[in-house]
Structures are given as C-alpha cells and as structure tokens.
Symmetry: C3
Subunit: 327 residues, 3 copies
Amino acid sequence: QSSVTLFGIIDTNFGYVDNTNAAGDSKYGIGTSGNATSRLGFRGVEDLGGGLKAGFWLEGEIFGDNGNASGFNFQRESTVRLSGNFGEVRLGRELVPTYRKVSSYDVFGQVGIGMFQGWSNWAGVGTADANGYRQSNIVSYYTPNFSGFTAGAGYGFDEQATGKEGRYAGAFGAYDNGPLSVALSFDRRNVGALGAGTKDNLTVGGSYDLSVVKINALLQQAKYKDVGAASGKYNSYGLGLTAPVGAGEIKAQYVMYDQKAIDSKAHQFALGYVHNLSKRTALYGTVAYLKNKDASNMALQAKQVSTTGPGAGENQTGVQLGIRHSF
Amino acid sequence: QSSVTLFGIIDTNFGYVDNTNAAGDSKYGIGTSGNATSRLGFRGVEDLGGGLKAGFWLEGEIFGDNGNASGFNFQRESTVRLSGNFGEVRLGRELVPTYRKVSSYDVFGQVGIGMFQGWSNWAGVGTADANGYRQSNIVSYYTPNFSGFTAGAGYGFDEQATGKEGRYAGAFGAYDNGPLSVALSFDRRNVGALGAGTKDNLTVGGSYDLSVVKINALLQQAKYKDVGAASGKYNSYGLGLTAPVGAGEIKAQYVMYDQKAIDSKAHQFALGYVHNLSKRTALYGTVAYLKNKDASNMALQAKQVSTTGPGAGENQTGVQLGIRHSF
Amino acid sequence: QSSVTLFGIIDTNFGYVDNTNAAGDSKYGIGTSGNATSRLGFRGVEDLGGGLKAGFWLEGEIFGDNGNASGFNFQRESTVRLSGNFGEVRLGRELVPTYRKVSSYDVFGQVGIGMFQGWSNWAGVGTADANGYRQSNIVSYYTPNFSGFTAGAGYGFDEQATGKEGRYAGAFGAYDNGPLSVALSFDRRNVGALGAGTKDNLTVGGSYDLSVVKINALLQQAKYKDVGAASGKYNSYGLGLTAPVGAGEIKAQYVMYDQKAIDSKAHQFALGYVHNLSKRTALYGTVAYLKNKDASNMALQAKQVSTTGPGAGENQTGVQLGIRHSF
C-alpha cells in the first residue's frame, strides 16, 4: 500500500479580455485556471494509533499554457500535520485559516474572471503574501467539528532579525447546519518598513441552499493603517447565486468594491456555466464585466492572458471558455 | 485504480567535443540526452463514455548531470486533451504538429551529436520557441487514422496587446503503409519587432523499410522574411540509415546545411550504435563530424558538455558514450 | 507493477537562534530539516538478468516552510546506475563517495543545529559544491561488500574549456563488523582561478556500539593550497554518543573546529532527543551552543531560520523542536 497519493487538476481555457491597457488594446489566447486552479500535488496520511494521525501535503501550481515557464514549486501548500481528537495542527506554508473557509462563499471559487477580488494586495505594501491568501512559516490549528461549529487560528512568523514585517495572526469561526452555512474571520498582517504598519482583513460570509438555487454572500473589509499615503479601507460586497441544471451548474455573481482609501468604486458582474462530462472532467464558460469608477483601475483575472487594468475609470469585459480535468 | 501514470527517461553519457571555441579548446565530461531526451512526466486518460476521452500530459526535461540546476518545469509538454471519433483536440504547450511527425525521419531522434539540426533558430530572431520545436498557448487538432493517412494542424496565440510576435500556425499530413512512411508539413511564425517578420518552415520526410536496412530522408527549408539583415533561406538535407543487428541497431546519417542567407554550407556525418540490455535500458555510442565551410559556425549538440561552434569555417568532432534507462 | 517508487521526507520545526548578527539580534520561526533533510524523490531498479541491474534515482530538497520559493529541482541526486557482481557504477550528480559513508559518524546526521560542520566551503573559494557534499558531472564506483570491507571512488569532470576549476577526485574505504564501524576518505577539488588551487579533504571516522550507548568519532582536515590568502588548514574533531531510551534516542555531540588558517577555534555542544511515534514519524528536540574564539565566526545551522554567524569571537545558542514524517 502506497503512502503517497498523487493528485492534480489541469484547467486550461480560451480567454478574451478587452481594454487590457490604457490604449484600449484587447488580448486573447490560452489561459489557465478559469474554473479551478491547475495544480499537481503529493499527499499522504499515516495512522499512528490511538486516534492520532500524521500527514503531509505538497502542492504546486501548474501553468498549462506555457509549462510552468518560471519553474515548478510547492508554494500552494507544503505542510506536515498531526491530527487527533484535539483537532489538527499544521506547520509550513498554506492557505491561512482566515481564508480557507470564508472564501468558499465566492461562487466562482476564487478563480477566473468572475472571482471575488476582496483578497488583494490593494495598497501594494508588504510581501507577495500580503494579498491575504497564503502564508509561509505558519503554524495553524483547526478544531474538530462540534455539531456544525468549527474554528481555527494561525500564526505566521516574520523571521526578521529586527521588526516584524510579514507577521500574520488570525482566527475564524464557522457554522454549518443543513442548508445554512456562515463564517467569520479576522486577521492582521504587519506590513511596510519593519512591519510598523498593519493590514487587517475582516470577512464575513454565508450561504443558504434553497435547493433550486443557493444564495451566497461575502462581505469584507481590508484596512491599512500606519503605512502613510497607502492607509485606508477597501470594502468588498459580494452576492452570488448557483443553480444546478441537469449535468451542470449556472453561477452568477455581483461584487461591489468600495475602495474608500482612493474614494472610488468598482462593480463586477459575472455569469458562468459549468457542464460536467464526468466527476473528474467539466467544460465551462464565463462572461464578466468590470465597471471602474473614478480612480479605480481594477482588472478581470483572466490568468495567463490578461490581469492588468484598463486605466482609471475605464471598463473591462472578459470571456473564458475552458476545460477542467482532475486526476 | 490510479488515474495517473508516472513515466520518464534518464539518458546520461560521457561526451567529448573538440574545437569547442575559436581557440580550439576541447571539452569532455558528463552530458545528457544522447539517445533520448531525459524526462519526467505525469499523464492520464479518462474514459467519458460514448468514445469520448479526456486526458492530460505533463512532462519536463531532466538534466541528470547537474540535477536540473536551473529548476524543474513542464515545458516539454503541458496539455489537456479531448479525443473521440472526431480525432483529438489539445490545449496548452507541446511539440507543434508540424514537428511531431515529420521529425521522426531523423534517425538520431533529434538528440545528441548525430541529430538533424534543421529546426534551429537560425537567424536568432524571435522567442526561445522560434527554433520550431514547441509552442506555448497552442490549440492543436489531430485527425484519426484513415487507412494510413493522418493529418493535424495547430494555432499558437501570440497573446500580445499590439502586434503578433510569437504567433504560430501550421499543418501537416502523413501517410504510413507497410514499409513506406511519408510526411509533409508547413508552418509560419511571426518574429521580430511586433511580429512583422515571418519564419516559414517547409519540411518533407520519408522512410522505406527494406528489413535489413531502413532508409530515411528529411528535407527542410527555413525561410526568414521581413526581418532585415536576418532575412534569407536555410535549407537542410538529411539522409539516414538504420539497421538492426542482434539486440542492437546501427545508425548512420549525413546532413548538409545549405545556409543560403549567409552563403555558406556545413556537412554533418554521424555513426551510432545502440545496444539494448532490455526493452527499457540501452547502452549507446555515437561519433560525429561537422565540417563548416565559409561563414558557417554550426556546432555538434553534445548537451550539457558542449553546444558551441568552433568558429567560422572550422570543424568539430564529437563522441558520446552513454546509457538510456526508461521507467 | 510500477517501475517507480515515489518517496520523501518532510521535516519541519520551530527554531530559535540568538546572536544571529553582529547587533546581537535573535531569530525564531519555522525551519526545515532539523532531524533529516526534507526531500521528494523518484527511484527505480530494473533487473536485467544475469545479476545485472539498471536503476535511477532523482531526488530534490523540500523547503516545507515556504513551499520551495526558489523552485524545485533534483540537485540532491540525479543518477543512472548499473550494478552487478562487479559492484555499482553511477553517472550524474550525487553525494561524493568521500562523503556518503564517512559522514554517517555525525550523530546528528549532518542536519540541524547539532551537526558536524567540517564539510564547509571554509575559505569561500570554488563553486557551490566546494563545500564537499555533492558533485555534478561525476562518475563513481562502489565495490560489493567483501566480508565487511567496502570501498568506492569517484571522478567529477570540470567541463572547462581551459583550466580545471570544479574538478573532483576521491576515494574511500570502510570496514563494518558487528559493533565496530570505521571509514577513511580522501578527496581533492580544484578551486580558484582556472582551478590552479586545491582543496583537500581527509576524513576518518568510526563508531563502536556498546548496546546501551554507541560512541562515534569523526576527524577531518580540509586543506586549501595555492589560493593565496585563503590557503591554510581547517581541522574538525567530533565526538558523539547515541543511546536508545524506550521509543526514542538521546544524542550528544561535541565538535572542535581548529581553524588554523585564521588561527582561531570554535567549540560546538549539542544535545538532542528523538521520539519515534512510528517507523515513519518522529518528534525531535535539539539544543546547541557554539562558542567562537578569536576570529572564528561560525554559525549554528538552523536551516530556513538562521545560518549566519554572531560576529567574530561571539557565541550562539539554538533550539529546534520539530516533526519528521517519511513517506
């Protein structure tokens, strides 16, 4: 019996986005991860007896359009774990606990042109992980499920000789019961010179399944403090619907980004359809429209085709048609 | 039942090449991919019913001499596929259809010091893929086999906001029947500033198996247009023989490179022997001689030992002795 | 039956080191490879009949704290092998024969804050491999075991057009019989401009198992010659003890580094405990103290937390608490 499971997803699509720069040029080509992030991973679990288990998870992103021109790594997740009646403790690099659960209320699964973009490095300060998805050097803890209640917390070390730039701390709580699901999370990152500034993310999300349609909501505030001109708030409000239709699913989502720090708003509308050819394979299509107002210069996330903004106050339309294959 | 097949080849050799620079210095050491390109890959196929199949292929090169000092990636192939009675459609990065079949008439399999070098970035314009082997952002289509006839076509997106540098389009047709095999391919790449120039590759190849010996021929023209001083033609003419001897195979090939753009010729002679220890493992040896005339400064391809030219009009001799192990 | 074995280790820890720079700052965070080097690999063996076997080994390091931020490669080992009654021949990149066996007398297994640091690029001349662990472009030979006697030799090609910088040559012999194990190795590397200088490593080690405790000794001289001011000797003397206690093992080691080239000494004391949760999984803890004298500025090796010196003549204390999980 092997102690390793090899797994992955390849999601590749035709993508089109107009107004990909201030000159108004459009781009089209082969993009990746329109329905799920392409990945390759190795994971395993060992039963140590007495309810105790050890495990590991190594997972890296795949860029199917160019064969990972920048090289392959395991930055999606690299953890070693111990779990038991007490819950689970993990060490390494992974999605932060304050993202893992609450991000599930984005009906586009945090990928592609329809995705909720509240998690972003809005003010451009801090490390690459300041977008809020993942953290290196993190220890995290997840509780067992108590009648639908779950919770978790994490601490990411800054590993600085002086200061605390890159440090992370956060916690979440969630409740799932029948058709209802809700979650709340809060985290803080130390950003800027010596980590003297902070980026706080407060997120609340929920869904209710009416069987013919499932309603999702996601509200988030990203607040930058003590980082000079970059200080300020970015509020994101998302409302999404999913509805099963035969072998497929229709998805629709509206997100409003109230970028108070720059006194500007943006509106994102997305409609998608996923057609399952099997449990492992699906075809999908998404259209999205992003309306920037005033100084806002947000972009649709058509990975590996275009992710750059149209210019302040300009709009962007995008299409993705692709295939997702899991193994 | 696992949905993934893990596969690969390690091919490592002792290599020697004289005249590796204008000073006439020779080089020797441990090289890679003398008989087949060293690789590691993951692939799988899923039966979707009704003759339809989904699949994926991830494959990266292995440099056994230094452990992939520049990192591991999947630039040899990263595709997701759908196939059925209609043929096969692939998305991602891979060998272009105009190379895959017709390159098979090189008796040295496009590796090592004996290889046919018509596919090269002769004029040094365009992206790394301008050598003509592979293409990122490509969609390709392969027909089913109709009584020996097969064909395919591909289109590689440039993904430029302005211009079309890096765009690829090409098609091939082939016929295999008993001892006879022939193929023809044509492709165009947009190269140079904004892709205003073109590199066209026209290739025809064939083989005839006389049982005691198999005769191979490969003729190719690479034509650069509208790229200033780099414009011009490069014609390559190859003639190869293979003959089974016991558990092994003898290979011999002559290639003449008529570099019309620089009004210079080069002649390459190669002799090789492959001794199979099993279906998976072989020992091999190759000797090759490259005769540059006038301004020609071509080099023998002793990967990871020496691939640099001896200087205009100078000659080069090379030897590779190695082992190829598949898994 | 698959021809490939997928294997690996993830070893992640909490690490702390004081005096990590001249300002006396301490560092703490998530480190890697405190008890064994984290790795992911693919290997296989094929029986060719008649006692002959072919095989391969691809293995790369895993940095579980950041998911291999610098990319994944196979620089730990990339070899193809042939073995039989004559012994084994290997081609590629791997641990040099003069390190493989004799380094086993370091009771901390050449990882973490307790490790014997004789193998180092003391004078800072030569390539990255001048630390003495590994070599690219190497061919090596290992004898069969003759009643406890084993030996091996290797030659690493420099692959230079002129000069011989990076060349390696070395051999070892060893004897294992019941409680006794001894080994001796010598190697030479060509370092500095054109490889005109040399770095010689002479190492002798041994262990004796008294059942309740096992005594290990490791003596090494690294001698730099003809590299100007960097010439000189570095002698390292290690004495280690291991003792099984229940499901675990206690380890203690003292190493004295007599850096004659800079007329300075350093003393390293380490104490560790490994608690096995299963054959595959263990928890561990190590404390270490490094006392630099005069111009010595050595550092404890708390990988991915701190490996920098405290300043000349300053001391360093470190702690590692971690988990090692093999698959």
